[in-house]
Amino acid sequence: MTLNSPGSRSTAGEPRPAPGRRHDGPPRPAWQRRLVSVVSIGLVVAGVVVIGYPLWTNFWQNRLQDRLAHQLTSRQLADAYRAHRLATGDSLTRIKIPALGVDMVVVQGTTDSALQAGAGHYPETPLPCEDGNVAIAGHRTTYGKPFANLDRLKPGDTIELDTPIGGCVYTVAKDPFVVTPTDVSVLATTTVRSLTLTTCNPKGSAAQRLVVRATVVKDLQPL
């Protein structure tokens, strides 16, 4: 006669298992229940955080842009720009790409923190509108995703840079092309005044870089 077999004796008031359900043993200890609760809630919270991360970066970038737009018009920044004394994260230029609806401030530097502004200028390249190859990197899926549709640019599309001391207009010279992350030759100086835009490729991946090359067509104001 087994303990739970029909007809087995049970003490008075002892609960019996529900019909059709197994009774594997005593209830789990309280610490196990708490652990499972914490783990499951933690997983859900982590998932929500991860899903909400792109939205949060957009919000953060939007706030940064307000501050950077204000800094871009300041006299101190114009002086620093003329003297080439710009710190990483400083406002540098406004970039306008009508074909993509882009109109935002680019900061100096391409560090992780600088690129929270959405787009940053490679500090080893000339300042915007100067001689040589000016290079700018921008996010594609987060932080305002300014270069989300960079692949849609076509030869002839215009890109305008407005700096604290002047501006210039470039036109896209050739179709966007893809390089490896270590192919820094796209940052090499050029004999003509040119602009290079880089972003990660494909969307949502950092495996490659998408590059757009443009050449200057006119200065908006003498530098």
Binding site: G25, V36, G42, V44, G47, V184, C200, G204
Partner: protein, 437 residues
């Protein structure tokens, strides 16, 4: 970053030199149209760290070395057994022609446990030389060197017994070994003979030759923790920057083998890089050799490594990079080269105030330059010549900016939410199943 800063300073120095050379060349050309002779320029640097721990901007380095040299001439070497123990650091600088500086071996702690064991904790030693304006620099450091000398006392203790038994043992074991060798030779070739040869064991009297070999072994076990070496060496033909870092290394019976190597050597976390600038051709090359674990048994090395670093959540504040026996080389635009290697490298949450970084055995080196050149002058008053100086940059600086993420953010998020939901639901259904009626 330290290397980067040094290279930046070298770059600035190079640019200034270039400017001066250009100026001199311009004046020469203005006066007399002739050729301009640009001197050789090179720079090399090596850096190694046994352990580097960084917690949100606060860094602790244990056992680190740096060496650098250039055509200024300058040679610099520094080392530190432990950053917090001043007595464990050493610095040697030679900044003119024909200078030589060698520091003593500075140790933070020396434990007098002779003759059974020797213990040195947190030591470093540096040397810099600029003989005939040719720079060389080297630095070594470690966090602990422990020599267990029990072997010879034990052998001495057993000497009467060994002396009595050796002739008989030689005869018996020699016969056995000879027979075994004759049997396995057709199958394994000369493997057994080679093995015994490495140990210096005579097949005819194996016991006595083994005892002799054991007496040659310097210690029973030697434990090295956090050994790092960085050196820049210049010869007539090349400039070599070499850096080695080890997390921990255990040598069993060091000196036992005929060539002086230990019987068994186990290294946990190893990184080795070499960058070479050829002074004749002007070309540069770099190599790296990392491993999480390296086992050297009787001279045969078995390294265990993963390969390329794994980059998770790139472009996000949570970006984390895991390097397990990984390394890379980079050739810069000016043909200078750099190499980096990590035994174990963890860079977690990089976007959050620097995040958490742990590097066990990290080594990097770089070298570059150009040879003597004679440039034809332009016979005009504005003619000028320029020289391309080594602008050696770190590996991190030669990648296009990361503006995306390697992780599929949305799918990962949904999986996490689903996992949380299912965990809770499964537990509740089980609990309901257990619940009494």
């Amino acid at each position: 970053m330290k290397v980067l800063r040094r290279f930046c300073s070298l770059g600035v120095l190079g640019v200034l030199t270039a400017g001066m050379l250009s100026g001199v060349a311009s004046s020469t050309l203005s006066a007399t149209p002739a050729s301009a002779n640009l001197p050789e320029v090179f720079a090399a640097t090596a850096s190694a760290q046994a352990l580097k721990l960084s917690l949100f901007g606060t860094t602790l380095t244990i056992s680190s070395t740096n060496a650098e040299g250039d055509t200024t001439p300058k040679a610099h070497a520094d080392g530190a057994g432990a950053a917090l123990i001043t007595a464990s650091s050493s610095v040697a600088d030679s900044t003119g022609a024909n200078q030589s500086v060698t520091t003593p071996k500075n140790c933070g702690i020396v434990l007098p446990l002779q003759p059974l064991a020797g213990v040195l904790l947190a030591c470093s030693q540096s040397t810099s030389v600029t003989a005939s304006a040719v720079p060389s620099a080297s630095a070594t450091s470690n966090i602990a060197d422990i020599d267990v000398n029990l072997l010879n006392p034990v052998l001495n203790l057993l000497k009467p017994i060994l002396d009595a038994l050796t002739p008989l043992a030689n005869q018996v074991l020699g016969t056995v070994l000879t027979t075994v060798n004759n049997v396995v030779q057709p199958l394994l070739g000369s493997t057994l003979t080679n093995l015994l040869g490495k140990l210096g064991i005579d097949i005819n009297k194996p016991v006595s030759s083994l005892i002799t070999a054991l007496q040659k072994a310097t210690n029973l076990i030697t434990i090295h923790v956090g050994d790092t070496t960085s050196q820049v060496a210049t010869t007539a033909g090349a400039v070599v920057a070499d850096s080695v870092a080890q997390g921990a290394k255990i040598d069993v019976l060091p000196g036992l083998l005929v060539n002086g190597d230990p019987l068994l050597s186990i290294t946990v976390g190893m990184a080795h890089t070499t960058s070479t600038y050829n002074r004749v051709s002007g070309a540069s090359a770099a190599t790296f050799d990392p491993a999480i674990l390296s086992i050297d048994l009787l001279g045969s090395v078995i390294p265990i490594k993963l390969g390329s670093p794994i980059d998770l959540l790139a472009g996000t504040p949570l970006e984390s990079v895991i390097s397990l026996g990984a390394g890379s080389t980079t050739t810069n635009a000016d043909k200078s080269v750099s190499a980096v290697a990590d035994g174990v490298g963890l860079d977690l949450l990089k976007g959050i105030n620097g995040g958490i970084s742990l590097h066990l055995a990290h080594a990097e080196s770089a070298a570059g330059g150009h040879t003597d050149t004679v440039t034809a002058a332009t016979p005009t008053t504005t003619g000028s010549t320029t020289t391309s100086l080594p602008v050696v940059t770190s590996v991190e600086a030669v990648r296009l900016a990361t503006t995306g993420t390697s992780a599929p953010v949305l799918p990962v998020g949904f999986v996490l939410v689903l996992a949380g939901y299912l965990t809770r639901r499964t537990f509740r259904s089980r609990r309901a199943a257990r619940a009494p009626r």
